[in-house]
């Protein structure tokens, strides 16, 4: 598969027509059939997408992030986001990208938003953080007790490198070792290191508890590395991952797998019910996947500077067929 970097507006999507041709009912209809409605609860998490610049072009990336992307949150928008976080009481602030490490405003954001966030999470890809300002960023993370959430799909180099790029496993392991040496992922330090594993292909993720046990054992045995928690998430059929599904002839079976795995019990715990996502330009979405599709918060284009309070509880969250990825099995919470 080619490593494509397309403008966000043209990101591929599982349209209603495409889903119908695969024999899959629209997600909204499936909700109705189960007597469910996807509505916002109390918003407790602010997710900040610092932009699409990344040093990788991962095959499963729903945002089509990569080295050629120029979308980056500037200092003025960072200030607006921090001001919003200061006005509202979020339990968690979750910084993501792209590779947020590559945004030169990351350090400033951490310093200014940390006092407003009881729990501050930073999603890193382990290789970008090794690329520039490493010691400055890691010192800042330690000083502010930032929870580091790192992508780590597999302990197999062939599978990790197939998803993320050649040599990524070895470089990721080296950075995990450095984080452990600083106290991240070690008991009693208060420095939390969590891993995220997405499947390295068109199959569903392992049950989280089983995967965590296996990763813990393998990482300790192979490299002497420890971590706190591991999260497994299904790949979402949007962007570059959807292109790969189509190119590799896996779209039909993957969508049917997601559709047949629909778990009505997962809907109540979906992250979009308690999270608001802000993109690099300051516009708001119900989740990072709707951000990828350009579907705004509650279906209305709104800038964070216009927000007066938290997004309203009880408002309906726009859905699409990509939502099946979050409701398959135990769900995406």
């Amino acid at each position: 598969m080619s490593q494509k970097t397309a403008p966000l507006a043209s990101s591929p999507d599982v349209s209603a027509e495409l889903a119908q041709s695969l024999g899959i009912r629209p997600f909204a209809q499936t909700l109705v059939e189960h007597g469910l409605d996807l509505i916002r609860g109390e918003t407790t998490t602010l997710q900040i997408n610092l932009g699409l610049l990344c040093n990788h072009t991962c095959r499963h990336c729903h945002l089509e992030a990569g080295p050629g992307r120029t979308e980056l949150m500037n200092r003025k928008t960072v200030d607006t986001v921090v001001a919003y976080a200061r006005r509202e009481s979020f339990q968690t602030v979750d910084i993501t990208g792209g590779a947020p490490e590559l945004n030169p405003n990351l350090g400033y954001l951490i310093e200014t938003i940390a006092p407003e966030a009881p729990r501050l999470m930073l999603r890193v890809n382990l290789t970008a953080i090794a690329q520039q300002n490493t010691n400055y960023l890691l010192d800042l993370c330690m000083a502010n007790r930032v929870v580091i959430v790192a992508s780590f799909p597999s302990v197999s180099s062939s599978q990790t490198d197939a998803q993320r790029g050649k040599g990524v496993l070895d470089r990721s392991v080296a950075m995990l070792g450095k984080l452990n040496a600083l106290g991240y992922g070690k008991n009693g330090t208060g420095l939390e290191l969590n891993l995220v594993s997405n499947p390295t292909g068109a199959f569903l993720p392992v049950a989280q508890s089983h995967a965590e046990k296996k990763f813990r054992s393998d990482l300790e045995r192979k490299w002497g590395i420890s971590f706190n928690n591991l999260f497994t998430f299904a790949n979402v059929p949007l962007g570059r991952f959807l292109t790969w599904l189509i190119d590799s002839g896996n779209l039909d079976s993957y969508m049917k797998k997601l559709f047949s795995g629909f778990n009505p019990c997962a809907v109540a715990g979906l992250m979009c019910r308690t999270l608001v996502s802000v993109n690099w330009n300051g516009y708001l979405y119900d989740c990072d996947f709707n951000l990828s599709k350009g579907v705004y918060l509650a279906g209305h284009k709104r800038h964070i500077s216009e927000m007066d309070g938290l997004p309203g509880s009880g408002t309906r969250i726009p859905t699409g067929n990509h939502c099946y990825a979050c409701t398959a099995g135990s769900g995406f919470s």
Partner: protein, 110 residues
């Protein structure tokens, strides 16, 4: 029929119960119980199934248990090693019969 084996036939496995539902129910209940987590994990059982699938060379089983292994968190390395176990046992089963050959040859030889 273009081929005796068609991937589209695999999801029809359950239809086998149409002519003998009670036997099919007993089989599928047993099958489900065998693959449930026990003293062996689901991942370990899937790896054994993958190895056996290669021993009996069942394309349906190879397809199904390749997917199951991946979804249970087995790595490609583990899956490949499991098939080498198949190969070692199959090869060893041939080679160990050399003891018969040697015994008979010894009896016949001066």
């Amino acid at each position: 029929m273009d081929s005796y084996y068609d991937p589209k036939d695999l999801p029809k496995f359950a239809d086998i119960g149409e002519e003998a539902p009670e036997l099919a129910k007993k089989f599928f209940d047993y099958y489900g119980a065998v693959f449930a987590e026990g003293d062996l994990t689901e991942r370990e059982k899937a790896l054994i199934a993958l190895a056996v699938a290669h021993a009996i060379q069942c394309p349906y089983c190879i397809d199904a248990y390749t997917q199951t292994c991946l979804e249970k968190g087995a790595s490609l390395g583990e899956m490949t090693e499991a098939i080498h176990v198949t190969t070692a046992i199959r090869g060893g089963a041939s080679l160990v019969h050399a003891t018969q050959m040697r015994k008979i040859a010894k009896k016949l030889s001066m």
